[in-house]
Amino acid sequence: MKNLQLIKSDNLSELLELLKKEERKYNIIAGGTDVMVLLKEFLIDPQCLYDVSGLSELKEILVDNDSIEIGSAVTMSDIISDSEVSRYAPVLVSALKEVGSPLIRNRATLGGNVGNSSPAGDSIPALFVLNARVNIVSEGNERSVKIEDFILGPRRNVLEKGEIIKSFVIDKMGTDERSFFLKAGSRNALAISKANLAFRFMLKDNLVKSMNLSFGSVGPVVIKSTMIPQLFIGKKPDPGLIDKSCSLVSEEIKPIDDFRSTAKYRVKVLENLLRKCLDEFC
């Protein structure tokens, strides 16, 4: 492998300053579980790497009255074992438990999963249904964008030169809300999703009060369902509605054929995964 400079700092403002001045081709690296693979396959070709995994500002989990802020460099293992996240955002924890293997989860970060912006990133559908906002920082600047606006396409996002993800702010789910994360893969460990979905809803007096639904691995980006929640909100779920909603899946997603799976299969499986969720709540 050629020479590659690794720049690591434990001070956020110092790192942002260096980043702003950087004139060479660079990549941010956190856990490196995507970056190392991309390097090896020559899909990226940076001259230097900026390591954010040592920044304590990026490694905190803060719980507020109605939201949780998770630092971008918190590892998946740490998120999974955090009792408050488990309590208030169980759908994120279920999604992260599906990622890779214990070894991968010990290194992989939430910032990396979103930063990689793959349609198969397992955390992303969960962040969608939790109405996540992405906090972005750069030297002297901060901004915040909705998760669905953050990702532009496969491995493309809104980050500009000098910017890094600082944290994610997600909804705290109420005790009367329920959620699921379901994934179809080929084996139990280290399987990239063929299709997945995150689902969050609340029933009140037998009527659907709220519903968030998103699909992963079935289009160039994670897809937020609009038609299906619309169909249910304010209504009492019944088998007729469920059938109808399942038939809408193929209109909302745009899967492709690749060697992991066929488009046809992905549609069918998502319909089935959705039916499984919906059957649970009526």
Partner: protein, 775 residues
């Protein structure tokens, strides 16, 4: 049946176990020689093309590049890479470098440079102009008239008298018949006729192929090779390079697995040329990607089975038609295909049998030996069809097997008709624990009991497959051993047999210790080095324990006689007859008097006292039979009807391998083979684009099973005694890879009613089969 042993049939510690876990085992790559150069191979981006021109000037000029080899500057010598007995039953269709490339990944030019990085840079500077030819990928298309001819060169040939018609891409053909198949099939009450396809797979040994070569102080060429076949490696290297055998020494150090892919001489010719040209040590190691693309694979095969049976459950007629895809070169092309018949058809009692096998050349990766060796592919088809026949008759699929499977004392016309490149050897089954295997497995899996699924949208099912393999190639393979005695009563055991992680050094030491009345701790095994160890064909065909084990046993017997002879010359045993002497606790003892002499005294006497000589012997062994081990695999699956995912809940594999010389190692072979088989059945798969390029040459995208994917696995060793084997042993290493495809397919059928006739059983495939989807 069972006999009493002291060292054999106990799970002694693996002799190299400690050094391996301590990281002290020395593998090929664990040496670093001063001035060692590195090789990188430029390979073909086209599936089929002629090299119009190749310009290496710029690349040669790069600093750090020592030499570049191409078809223009390396002798063209037809040979096979298959490490088989000589003359090999594989065509001589390979040249160190060739003007025509025949698959994506075929050799074009080897760069020898100071570092791998420089070699890679140089590779980019080589200018190659190709005349791209039409390519053919499916064996069915390859043997059609008008298909592109892959081996149109004039100098390729097969060194034994068998069918070989490269002019129509037919690399091998065999057909044999016993009785009258057509008549018997037509007259049968029930007929089933099905085609199955078994797919590409790679062996995935932890250690990829590697070879380090260097000139020694006498200008002999030393090759350290990760090989299963050091003697074939030496012979084929000599053949390709013109270096006389006496000038080549092949060393096999510790090996990180082979599973058949190292029964190939894949790197040695190029390394040898590189050493000759540079006079420097040279290393060539394949990357995982190269291992997938350019080394060897399992032969993908279409297997068509026809079975005719009577309503009462008797099998009247069986036909197996195999179309095997050997890829661009014909390594093991004939024998893997023949083995489909010879290791699968004899399992069922039947008078009217026909076997028809073709092997086609295609522009695909090159297939070779892979654990199971054809039996894996054929057993998939056979065991699924057997279950279908039973169901058609209305019999339980296990009962049907019990009724028809071969038993001790019975033979099969196939044994006699189908050999390795010639007729086979007639044989009747000696030891056979198949009935016991079935009984044990049935109990363990609770055959006939349908369990409720864990969730409402899931379905459970159970499946079975019964199997046999062989133990070595009769009248062809030879193994030998050399034992000498040391003053402390220990023995050096030198073998050409190659331990590649299998544990054969341990097993063979146990056999020697048993004969010599000592423990394995007093045996110092060494394998293998063509300068020091006697010839052995190598580790393949499930032969080492059975074949080399017998050679070790014979050698130890000879040493024992010499020890008795020495004892008789020593004071205390003057009046004892040899017939009354025996060896125990590292001493010579006598049945009638209670005198003893220690081994140490024996050896010191022989070496230093009188009529001095080295107590030592060397014996060889060939076999006249290839006694099959047997097994019955049972599996319970749960199929998710929403996703098509198949979960294995329990897998049961009792094996009859005769006497297990080391039960834990034998069981380890079974467990490893079962997992290997499950992985092949569920996830392993090559993906190609329309140009013949493999798309997933890495473990990220080529999925092998991991620990968390393991089902509950129950194995056991069924006790039998094979009279022709060393202390009753036969083979164990290959057989259990053959069960997963058919047993799981049968279980999927039991669960959801679909018969899947090609692997792997991915969620998509199972799901789509379940719901014939309209697009």
């Amino acid at each position: 049946m069972s006999k009493k042993f002291k060292v054999v049939k106990t799970s002694v510690e693996k002799v190299d176990g400690y050094s391996l876990v301590a990281g002290r085992g020395v593998f090929v790559d664990d040496i670093d020689l001063p001035g060692m150069l590195q090789i990188k191979m430029l390979t073909s981006p086209h599936a089929h093309a002629v090299i119009k021109s190749i310009n290496i000037k710029k690349a040669e000029a790069l600093e750090g590049v020592h030499t570049i080899m191409t078809h223009e500057n390396v002798p063209r010598i037809p040979h096979t890479t298959a490490g088989q007995g000589f003359p090999e039953p594989s065509p001589y269709d390979t040249y160190t470098f060739r003007r025509k490339v025949r698959f994506v990944g075929d050799r074009v030019a080897a760069v020898v440079a100071e570092t791998e990085e420089i070699a890679e840079e140089a590779m980019k500077l080589i200018e190659v102009e190709y005349d791209v030819l039409p390519a053919v990928f499916d064996p069915k298309d390859a043997i059609k008239e008008g298909a592109p001819i892959i081996h149109d060169e004039e100098d390729c040939y097969i060194p034994i008298p068998v069918a070989y018609e490269p002019e129509r891409n037919l690399c091998a053909h065999v057909d044999v018949e016993a009785g009258d198949f057509d008549k018997a099939y037509a007259e049968s009450d029930v007929q089933v006729d099905r085609e199955y396809y078994s797919h590409y797979a790679q062996h995935c040994p932890m250690e990829p192929h590697i070879c380090i070569g260097y000139p020694d102080e006498n200008d002999r060429l030393v090759l350290r090779v990760s090989t299963q076949v050091p003697f074939h490696s030496r012979r084929i290297t000599a053949q390709c390079t013109g270096i006389p055998i006496r000038k080549i020494r092949v060393i096999k150090p510790r090996i990180g697995g082979g599973f058949g892919t190292k029964q190939e001489v894949l790197l040695e010719d190029v390394v040898a040329f590189a050493v000759m040209r540079t006079g420097r040590p040279v290393r060539w190691a394949l990357t995982r990607k190269e291992e997938f693309i350019s080394s060897r694979t399992r032969h993908p095969q279409y297997v068509n089975i026809k079975i005719g049976a009577n309503k009462d459950g008797k099998i009247n007629a069986m036909e197996m038609k195999v179309l095997s895809n050997t890829g661009a070169y014909g390594s093991h092309a004939l024998t893997v295909m023949s083995n489909c018949g010879s290791k699968v058809l004899p399992l069922y009692r039947c008078k009217n049998i026909r076997f028809w096998g073709d092997t086609a050349y295609t522009n695909m990766p090159v297939a070779g030996a892979y654990r199971g060796y054809g039996a894996t592919q054929a057993a998939f088809a056979m065991e699924c069809v057997i279950s279908e026949v039973a169901q058609k008759i209305g019999m339980d699929t296990v009962e049907f097997r019990k009724m028809n499977h071969i038993k001790s004392g019975e033979g099969s016309p196939i044994f006699e008709k189908l050999g390795e490149g010639k007729e086979g050897v007639p044989q009747t089954i000696g030891s056979c624990g198949l009935a016991e295997c079935i009984e044990w497995g049935e109990k363990e899996i609770e055959w006939g009991k349908k369990n409720p699924p864990s969730e409402p949208h899931k379905r459970r099912g159970k499946g079975v497959a019964i199997l046999m393999q062989g133990s070595s190639v009769p009248e062809i393979d030879m193994g030998s051993a050399f034992i000498k005695m040391n003053e402390d009563g220990s023995f050096n055991l030198l073998m050409g047999a190659t331990d590649l992680g299998t544990g054969s050094d341990t097993v063979l030491s146990q056999i020697a210790a048993e004969v010599l009345g000592t423990t394995e701790k007093f045996i110092i095994p060494y394998s293998s080095d063509t300068d020091f160890t006697p010839f052995d064909v190598g580790a393949y065909a499930s032969s080492t324990t059975y074949l080399t084990g017998s050679a070790v046993l014979k050698t130890a017997e000879k040493v024992k006689e010499q020890i008795f002879g020495v004892a008789q010359n020593m004071g205390p045993f003057k009046d004892c007859s040899v017939d009354e002497m025996y060896l125990e606790d590292a001493q010579v003892k006598c049945k009638t008097c209670d005198k003893t002499i220690s081994f140490s005294d024996i050896c010191n006497f022989a070496m230093y006292a009188k009529d001095q000589f080295q107590i030592a012997a060397c014996e060889s062994h060939i076999t006249h039979k290839s006694p099959p081990p047997f097994t019955a695999h049972f599996v319970e699956v749960e199929v998710d009807t929403m996703t098509g995912k198949v979960d294995l809940l329990k897998y049961v594999a009792p094996v009859d391998c005769g006497t297990p010389i080391n039960p834990i190692l034998a069981d380890g072979q079974t467990q490893g083979a079962v997992v290997n088989g499950i992985s092949f059945a569920l996830t392993e798969e090559y993906f190609f684009n329309e140009k013949g390029v493999m798309l997933n040459p890495d473990f990220n995208n080529y999925k092998i099973l991991s620990t968390v994917d393991m089902p509950e696995l129950k194995t056991t060793l069924i006790d039998t005694y094979e009279e022709t084997g060393p202390f009753g042993a036969k083979s164990v290493s290959e057989i259990s890879i053959n069960g997963a495809l058919p047993a799981i397919a049968n279980a999927i059928y039991d669960a959801v009613g679909v018969r899947i006739n090609n692997g792997p059983f991915t969620p998509e495939k199972v799901y789509m089969a379940m719901k014939e989807l309209k697009k």
